[in-house]
């Protein structure tokens, strides 16, 4: 019962903060709401007994990505509410499209084959030891390839953000 209440609370926080990200006028507030959303998702990971991913999620998203986003918002001086708005028709169509996508996805997921366990507490799939074993045996090559991806992303970011000489 307790974990159901925690689930409801975390789910409400995730949905409300995600909506606030979309509907905040000021980009700084959007970033702040996004941080709250990510923390609630980390809470979901803890509830799903995926401790390793919960920690990695907080480190990567709250630690790295959000700092980068905030830096960019402040660097570009976007913290004002001057965004011109789309027409009411476009907004209505966008919202209806999103709602219909939600319904279609839900309908498609009704026939999903759910997991074998009744609760995530019964499985130790998310423990650091298990994840580490799988990561460094079955997925060793993809793991090493991520370093190539990161170095190319790093070089790409530096090249793109560098000031061009005229």
């Amino acid at each position: 019962m307790t974990s159901e209440i925690i689930f409801y609370f975390l789910a409400a926080v995730s949905v409300i903060t995600a909506l606030m990200v979309v509907f905040s006028k000021n980009p700084i507030y959007s970033v702040m709401w996004l941080i709250a959303c990510f923390f609630s998702i980390a809470g979901h990971y803890v509830m799903l007994n995926a401790q390793f991913l919960a920690i990695v999620h907080i480190i990567v998203y709250a630690g790295a990505i959000m700092v980068l986003m905030l830096f960019t918002v402040m660097l570009l001086n976007l913290n004002r509410e001057s965004e011109p708005h789309k027409s009411l028709l476009t907004k209505g169509i966008a919202t209806v499209t999103g709602g219909m996508l939600f319904l279609v996805l839900l309908a498609a997921m009704r026939s999903t084959q759910l997991g074998a366990y009744a609760s995530p507490e019964a499985s130790d799939a998310g423990f650091v030891q298990k994840v580490g074993m799988v990561l460094f045996t079955d997925y060793l090559l993809p793991f090493e390839m991520t370093s190539v991806l990161f170095i190319s992303a790093m070089i790409g970011a530096v090249v793109l953000a560098k000031k061009e000489k005229h």
Binding site: A50, F102, L114, G115, P120, S123, G156, A157, L160, A161
Partner: protein, 107 residues
């Protein structure tokens, strides 16, 4: 942790939650014109898919899904770095991050 009596939320709730989060992300991409907020909405979508994958992994007792989520996070970090660098150079050239200004590729 293992000896806790099972009172967890059923997995279908996680399906509904991540579908809802994904739809919110899609609405955000369609609704907003500021490129940085569109990037944030893409992050919400990536995270909703991650949540779905972790729930399936946890309920099926299979670790592979969590390794895939790990790789998704890696790709998301690289994507944000490159995306924000693109945004900075766009802002430098056009003085705005409004996506409606970026119509030069239209031809």
């Amino acid at each position: 942790m293992n000896e806790v009596v099972s009172t967890a939320a059923p997995q279908s709730w996680y399906l509904v939650l991540s579908t809802l989060l994904f739809s919110i992300g899609v609405v955000g991409v369609l609704l907003r014109r500021n490129a940085i907020i569109i990037l944030m909405c893409i992050e919400i979508m990536l995270n909703s898919v991650n949540l779905l994958m972790v729930s399936f992994s946890a309920y099926a007792g299979n670790t592979d899904g969590q390794v895939f989520v790990f790789f998704t996070m890696v790709v998301a970090a690289a994507e944000v770095a490159v995306g924000l660098a693109l945004l900075v150079s766009i802002y430098r050239n056009l003085g705005s991050t409004d996506i409606d200004v970026l119509s030069k590729l239209k031809g």
